[in-house]
Symmetry: C2
Subunit: 333 residues, 2 copies
């Protein structure tokens, strides 16, 4: 059976939290499997919507559930020819946009701290049909805009997607602005802090300007995924614990990496961007550690690493020590 994660691998390349979903969530989903010959009832979809709405502090009518953010991105990409984005940004959005022939008006993040120049971004957004911004940004882990600044973007009147996939770690959200701004869509996910990546539940909080078809969208998230999401939202104390583990892990990694002479940026997500010796991602892979190589986008030695559990983080640090030692010139005998 080819279930994840791959055997013998430390998998830190897709920002999955390496902690299994809690028992109450697994059990709720498992109960649903036994009756999976039936379609998921509308009432269950609506219940999960309402629970998520309560969690996000918005009215239920603003919340839709998709089996992944990309399914919602199609909504934007089928209606736009030019989308304003920052650069770098979530690579799957870029990839999907290019696939659809949508032009990306890119505003580069600038300087050592990957700052966004709001005026420059607004100027690009004015020329675009839609706006996409991941906040915090992937792969840098930086928060790019404060809510007040998002409102400046919204004031342009373009359909504007704020991707808050890492909201639970950043603590910063504009979800509640969807009540006032018809053009806002806030993308969330249960893939990270809720530990449900494989279940495919991506809540999207939309303003009144988005026209979605209830009877088609509601069938896309499976019965057992809805059951899992329902249990997770009802009893969500574990999310806080996950966030605590991740934040402590990120702090530990930054400290240890600094000691090894590897630059590690601060993060508002469950991953850290680091800069080590050129070819770092490829060498780590030889040691069974999978990370995301960002050399092509950010230059030699740049790697995005998912924060793991204390054990996994310690293992990563040990492997990095070995790698760095092996790559140093050896003293001649």
């Amino acid at each position: 059976m080819s279930l994840p994660p791959p055997a013998g691998v430390i998998k830190l390349d897709q920002n999955e939290v390496p902690i299994p979903p809690p028992q109450h969530v697994v059990e709720a989903a498992a109960q649903a499997l036994a009756v999976a010959n039936w379609y998921q009832p509308a009432a269950l979809y609506d219940e999960v919507r309402a629970l998520y709405a309560e969690y996000a502090g918005v009215a239920p009518a603003h919340v839709w559930l998709f089996p992944g953010a990309d399914d919602f991105f199609e909504y934007i990409l089928h209606r736009a020819r030019k989308v304003a984005v920052v650069s770098p940004t979530y690579f799957l959005f870029e990839d999907q946009a290019r696939f659809h022939g949508v032009e990306l008006l890119q505003t580069p993040l600038r300087g050592e701290e990957f700052k966004l120049d709001l005026a420059e971004f607004l100027s690009a957004a004015k020329r675009a049909d839609a706006v996409y911004i991941d906040n915090p940004n992937n792969p840098t882990g930086q928060l790019l805009l404060r809510p007040k600044e998002v409102e400046e973007v919204l004031a342009l009147g373009k359909p504007t997607v704020v991707d808050e996939a890492y909201f639970e770690f950043s603590g910063v959200t504009v979800a509640q602005l969807a009540e006032a701004w018809p053009n806002l869509a806030v993308v969330r996910t249960m893939s990270k802090a809720f530990l449900l990546a494989g279940m495919r539940v991506s809540p999207v909080i939309v303003g009144a300007g988005y026209r979605l078809h209830y009877n088609t969208v509601r069938f896309r998230v499976s019965l057992s995924s809805l059951a899992a999401a329902r249990a997770a939202l009802y009893n969500r104390g574990y999310v806080g614990e996950v966030v605590k583990i991740v934040k402590e892990g990120a702090a530990y990694l930054r400290e240890e990496l600094a000691r090894l002479g590897i630059k590690a940026w601060p993060t508002y997500a469950n991953f850290i961007l680091v800069k080590g010796p050129p070819g770092l991602a490829a060498v780590l892979r030889e040691y069974g550690v999978w990370v995301r190589d960002e050399e092509q986008r950010l230059g030699p030695g740049h790697v995005r690493i998912t924060v793991g559990t204390p054990e996994i983080n310690a293992q990563l640090v040990r492997t990095l020590k070995t790698v760095l030692k092996a790559s140093l010139p050896q003293p001649s005998a």
Copy 2:
């Protein structure tokens, strides 16, 4: 917990087979839940594609998996302004098309046997940007086109969707034509004879003219749904048993209904269209039997009823007897 089916209801309104998925499928899906903090691997998606391709007799590259047919329908509906359809047809396709402002060029099914006039349909298809036909048709249960006739439609060169959701019951398919015709898309499902409605796995077999983006589509079907589909396809002997039960059930129902003076059409699917006294669906609902009311589309007394297990079918017949008796004028005392 709001899991289906609703308590105390005989649910025959959505063409779900009222038999739970087999143990090997449930167990495979349950195993996946424990590791659902990980994304589904591409290798698993590809494995299910390959298994379905083998089942359908096509090359794996033609097979895509969607979390429901409607997710694929968006592909068509975003690219077409006019779609040729038969009437009546699958109501969710009609509904979704109208929602997107797509014009439906409808060719009515004619006569007591709901026959399609191919010449009339071709003439409409010529004026359309795309073609959708459900074969067998929903809600009539009739096979509308033979493969040779589908080729006449394909020869027009329009993107053409043949919805074979009920293929396992009809035994008639054009899936293999996707190798030769770039404009053909054959929609299948694991919701019916595979007993996995709630899992959301709809394979679509497309010709070379369809451009789908692997890295976005592949994330939409959940890890446990892929695990379920994989187990179901590997060990699919049960599908034949389901089809046998359904076919015997349909024959039984037609015979019993005829005896009750209710017209029941022959069927190539797991539902039968019947014509009883006006208001039949509404009265059945009062007795806890849910069926699909087709009065609006087909006229008084028309109802689409899912074929159940022998026990459920017998219960339905008993309820119909009660209903018919109650609705007859009573002899005066």
